[in-house]
Amino acid sequence: MSVDAETSSANRRSRILGDLQGGRNIAVAVASTVVFFAVVIVVIINSAGWPEVRKAFFDRQLFTGSFPEIARAFLLNVRIFCIAEVVILVAALGIAVLRGLPGPVLFPFRLLAVVYTDLFRGIPTILVIYILGFGAPALQLSGVPNSPFFWGVTALVLVYSAYVAEVYRAGIESVHPSQEAAARSLGLSHAKTLRFVIIPQAVRRVIPPLLNDFIGLQKDSALVALIGPIEAFRQSQIDVAATFNYTPYLATALLFLLLTIPLARLTDWLVARDRRRQSGGGLR
């Protein structure tokens, strides 16, 4: 039994390299990978349209020429999603807590939270950005910024808070009711039980799905371009329009990947670590 348990936990160590045990398996994996990609590359290079595509997408000179400017514009994406992520972490938790409020008196708050999540998960992000980006400034509210940057970030916060609130809620509901009973039996109020007992456990459990949503958010920061701000995607569009060559798009894609891939790996690592802890935890 212990041998089985050990192999299976070793297999779970990494989703990609998990079952590569021993020299022979690794050799087979390397060989099949090389063959697979060689075939793909040969097929692409020998296709009829390859010379045209190569010129349009893989122009080295244009790449190095446009990259610095796009990278500078990408800093705006970073600003957009960094600000949005901080606000979302707090706002979504608030919504999740509202939704879990007990008792009939607080029903309106629960209803509000349900309507909110339904609404903003149901409308395409791009529409929320358009409606807020063009509609909100037209209201000419005093004391509220009119910049498309502000409303773009607000739109992303509204949409992603709805998703992340659901993630939090799943986490809160996954904490066993006996934990709440134990906390309440010590005299802790509902709020203090949430704050000290339920939420700390819930947050730990939802870190992987939460990071997953943030990967989506980072990509969607490009949508803010549609209401004006010149971020990486918009900048590459400008470059493409000037040169009639699509290489700048590739540079933009690369920039996004440089950010999202490490985050994806971090998510995987956290999931694996969690699993290791649980299997090594002994008595629950």
């Binding site: 309440r184 010590l186 203090k192 456990q201 008595l283």
Partner: protein
């Protein structure tokens, strides 16, 4: 003994879950410094009764008094729970906190004690029950018996004047039962008022001042342990004890 003198008094307590009536009119008094054991088959309502006293469940009918003061309705449940400790079958320690944090959470956050004061008291309690060296461990690292002792210490840290124990040894490996029972014995010797739901008949016989046999949501029979265990009057009590003896538990 009437409701005014008793530490805890229940009058005609009823509780249903959906269409199932779990408690069908329970009358019970627990005096100051008295140890009362609830025995009875699984599903007879022992756990529900304890949870109702702690107001974790709201009763459908009847009245509950704590030191003569009615707590059935219109009281701040959080205030009542400060004075009534409960220990659960499954320990229910907070897995993300060290032993010391588990014990000091309620004293600091509910009673408003300073961290230093709460810690000093917690350490004294942990020492008393042989857990001083575990203060910085997380619950998952402890044996079941140690976890349950920590759970008892956590409840005691609120200085309750009534302790409810809900089959606290049922989730333990047999060799770990004794260490938990000796803690309860020590509490009983110290004069703690306790209402204990238990399957440990020999423990009930040795420790309880009074044993109540719960059957189908009612207290069918109660009395001193020697009387209940040797000369039960009710047929259902006799049946239950015969099954227990056949299982080698008495």
């Amino acid at each position: 003994m009437n409701a005014k003198e008793a530490a805890l008094s229940l009058e005609g307590v009823r509780k249903s879950f959906g269409s199932v009536e779990v408690l069908r009119g329970v009358d019970l008094n627990v005096g100051e410094h008295e140890v009362v054991c609830l025995i009875g088959a699984s599903g007879s309502g022992k756990s529900t009764l304890l949870r109702c006293v702690n107001l974790l469940e709201r009763i459908d009918a009847g009245r509950i008094f704590l030191h003569g003061k009615e707590i059935t309705h219109g009281v701040d449940a959080n205030k009542v729970r400060r004075r009534v400790g409960i220990v659960f079958q499954a320990f229910n320690l907070f897995p993300h906190m060290t032993v010391l944090r588990n014990v000091t959470l309620a004293p600091t956050r509910v009673l408003g004690k300073s961290r230093a004061e709460a810690q000093a008291e917690a350490i004294a309690l942990l020492e008393r029950f042989g857990l001083a060296d575990k203060r910085d461990e997380y619950p998952d690292r402890l044996s079941g018996g140690q976890q349950q002792r920590v759970a008892i210490v956590r409840a005691l840290a609120m200085r309750p004047d009534l302790m409810l124990l809900d089959e606290v040894t049922s989730a333990l490996d047999p060799e770990l039962v004794a260490e938990v029972l000796s803690v309860i014995q020590e509490l009983a010797d110290g004069g703690m008022t306790m209402l204990i739901a238990t399957h440990e008949m020999s423990f009930a016989r040795d420790t309880a001042d009074r044993v109540c046999f719960l059957d189908a949501g009612r207290i069918l029979e109660q009395g001193p342990p020697e009387e209940i265990f040797t000369r039960p009057r009710e047929f259902r009590t006799q049946q239950f004890l015969e099954r227990i003896i056949a299982a080698g538990r008495l």
